[in-house]
């Protein structure tokens, strides 16, 4: 009993330390838009500024170039949605097939998948750009969406899940019952793999939302930018992060912090939704039916 008490106290101390480490920068970020640039350095780092200052900050940001930040926001949303949908349709059957069918080339595809996961991104960007320009897609949304449909991490995670968590006997039993291979994938594997699928969908959404170099290279029009590249353009155009802010545009560190908050908000919402599924519903016990 006593051992249980100490271990739970130790656990709580560990959790408090963890929360302090991970939350402090975020709390700072939440508070930064409530302060003016000057207040950022002379007030306590974790002090609250004022609501009216927050209003000023929000107004400065949202009126920048007639509210172009909303265009960036909606670009990010739809690039991500289309890209991730195609990525999932490609990855789920592939990972399942790699784990559950034996055929020539199985190991080769797995190896190439792992290999492409570790190819330096810098090495792929220029060839991708040349590919896209050959088919005339540079500076269109497709130049960002299509390369994003390649999602080896998702294939790998589905492969690991199918191989280790789904017994062959379930699939074999469905085959004996006369189910088609596609029917087995859709009606047996996909429901059983829901936690894994939600997990890879979640990481795909985060990856796509945060993707920076691809849109940075591919998109030149201001109104095609994503929130990430737009934010960078905003920072470098206004010199908000040091360097001289010679323009009279009211974009400074608090406005950038506010834009940062806008850019992470959707990810936090998706995480809140996904985490219910990440823990619930496992394949364990599936065989008992």
């Amino acid at each position: 009993m006593r051992a249980g008490m100490t271990s739970s106290a130790g656990r709580n101390i560990l959790f408090i330390a963890t929360i302090a480490f991970f939350a402090t920068p975020i709390v700072w970020l939440l508070l930064a838009p409530t302060k003016s640039t000057n207040q950022l350095s002379y007030l306590n780092p974790l002090a609250f500024g004022s609501l009216s200052q927050l209003g000023t900050t929000a107004n400065n940001l949202l009126s920048y170039q007639n509210g172009i930040i909303w265009a960036w926001f909606f670009n990010s949303v739809w690039y991500t949605l289309v890209s991730v949908s195609i990525a999932l349709v490609a990855s789920i059957p592939a990972g399942y097939a790699l784990a559950k069918f034996r055929f020539r080339g199985n190991t080769v595809i797995l190896f190439v998948t792992l290999l492409t996961m570790i190819v330096p991104a810098a090495a792929l960007i220029l060839p991708l750009y040349l590919e896209m320009s050959a088919v005339g897609m540079v500076n269109t949304p497709w130049s960002v969406i299509l390369p994003g449909t390649f999602y080896p991490f998702g294939v790998y995670m589905i492969y690991l899940f199918a191989k280790n968590a789904i017994p062959d006997s379930i699939i074999e039993a469905a085959r004996l019952d006369g189910a088609s291979e596609f029917g087995i994938l859709m009606r047996i594997f996909v429901p059983l793999a829901r936690p894994a699928i939600i997990m890879i969908a979640f990481f795909a959404i985060v990856g796509s939302w945060n993707s920076f170099f691809l849109p940075f290279i591919m998109l030149t029009s201001a109104n095609l930018q994503t929130l990430q590249t737009g934010l960078q353009a905003l920072v470098s155009a206004t010199g908000a992060l040091g360097g001289g802010n010679l323009s009279n545009i009211a974009i400074h560190a608090p406005e950038v912090a506010f834009a940062t908050l806008l850019s992470i908000l959707p990810i936090l919402l998706v995480f809140l939704f996904a985490q219910k599924y990440l823990a619930a519903g496992q394949a364990a016990g599936a065989e008992k039916g």
Binding site: R11, P25, I109, V112, P120, A253, A284
Partner: protein, 313 residues
């Protein structure tokens, strides 16, 4: 029969799958149909650009005359670059600091959170993930502030450590990047591991409790071995990520001008070949050398740990 339904790759060592009628059979056609779309994107957006990059590595750009073909020129130029040893040392220091710390933190926290699923544990899992949503320019701004003693919440600690008003420098960057890496990356892996832990059948844990095992013993002797396969996976992916570190030192350097070299990491050096010198051949050559090191290490780790057992189990 619930025993063969785990997520952990190493489960075979604990509970071998029964062999017999229920083995997968040779059915090649549906397999290719399921793989078709993935193979298309793998080829077009993965393999083809990689091969093109490979080809570029043998094209030598020179100041006078057109491009020429050489098997070794770009590679020897890159290896002879005086900036490469420094950049390699930087990256190595960062990896040595970051990887062990990240693995210990990720596994320790995932097991602690799973040990008793209290609300506080769920809150910790959530909070640990949040910084993973802050990347790119956002992360740069945030960490520039976090490591500026004047405005940072940990400012007093930073000033005490250095006695200066600036903390960012070529030398301190491995520490900064390790902290940034853990802050942005650990939460994601904790989510993955927690998912794997929740997939461990209750029966196994319950019988261990009946046998009188403590929570600590269950975590160390039952759960950890079951999710051990992920150590390899995390290590391989993180190793590749770490070797290629690029965005963070780049953006930190733009915010802390003069304090951080623009060719701090290996990938930054490759990028500077491509952009500052318009020498894509050298950039590609360095990328390939980097890839070879990553693949070599990955293969070594995978071989040593028998991670691949396709069709063997």
């Amino acid at each position: 029969m619930a025993i063969d339904t785990q997520v952990a790759p190493t489960v075979a060592t604990v509970a071998p799958e029964p062999r017999g009628v229920a083995r997968r059979v040779r059915r090649a056609t549906p397999a290719w149909r399921f793989l078709a779309l993935y193979l298309v994107v793998l080829t077009v957006f993965g393999v083809a650009p990689a091969l093109y990059g490979l080809y570029q590595a043998f094209i030598v750009t020179s100041a006078v005359g057109g491009p020429t073909f050489s098997l070794v020129q770009n590679f020897s130029d890159v290896i002879g670059d005086y900036r490469l040893p420094t950049a390699s040392l930087h990256v190595l220091l960062y990896l040595l600091l970051w990887l062990p710390l990240e693995l210990v933190i990720v596994f320790g926290l995932a097991l602690a959170i799973d040990a008793k699923r209290t609300r506080f544990a769920a809150l910790t899992r959530f909070v640990a993930y949040v910084p993973g949503a802050v990347t790119g320019s956002a992360a740069a701004l945030l960490w520039l502030f976090m490591f500026s003693p004047a405005v940072s919440p940990i400012g007093p600690i930073l000033s005490a450590l250095t006695g200066k008003q600036t903390f960012l420098s070529d030398q301190s960057l491995p520490i900064v990047l390790a902290v940034m890496g853990i802050s942005a990356g650990a939460g994601g892996w904790i989510v993955v591991l927690y998912g794997a832990l929740t997939a461990i059948p209750k029966e196994i844990i319950e019988s261990a409790v009946l046998d009188g095992a403590s929570a600590w013993q269950i975590a160390r002797l039952i759960k950890l071995p079951l999710i051990r396969g992920y150590i390899v996976f995390i290590l391989v992916v993180s190793l590749a990520q770490g070797f290629q570190v690029f965005v963070e030192p780049t953006v930190l350097a733009t915010g802390a001008t003069g304090q951080i070299s623009t060719t701090w990491s290996i990938n930054q050096l490759a990028y500077s070949y491509a952009t500052d010198q318009s020498n894509y051949g050298r950039a590609a050559a360095l990328s390939i050398l980097l890839l070879l090191v990553c693949v070599g290490l990955a293969v070594l780790i995978l071989k040593k740990t028998n991670f691949y057992q396709v069709g063997e189990r």
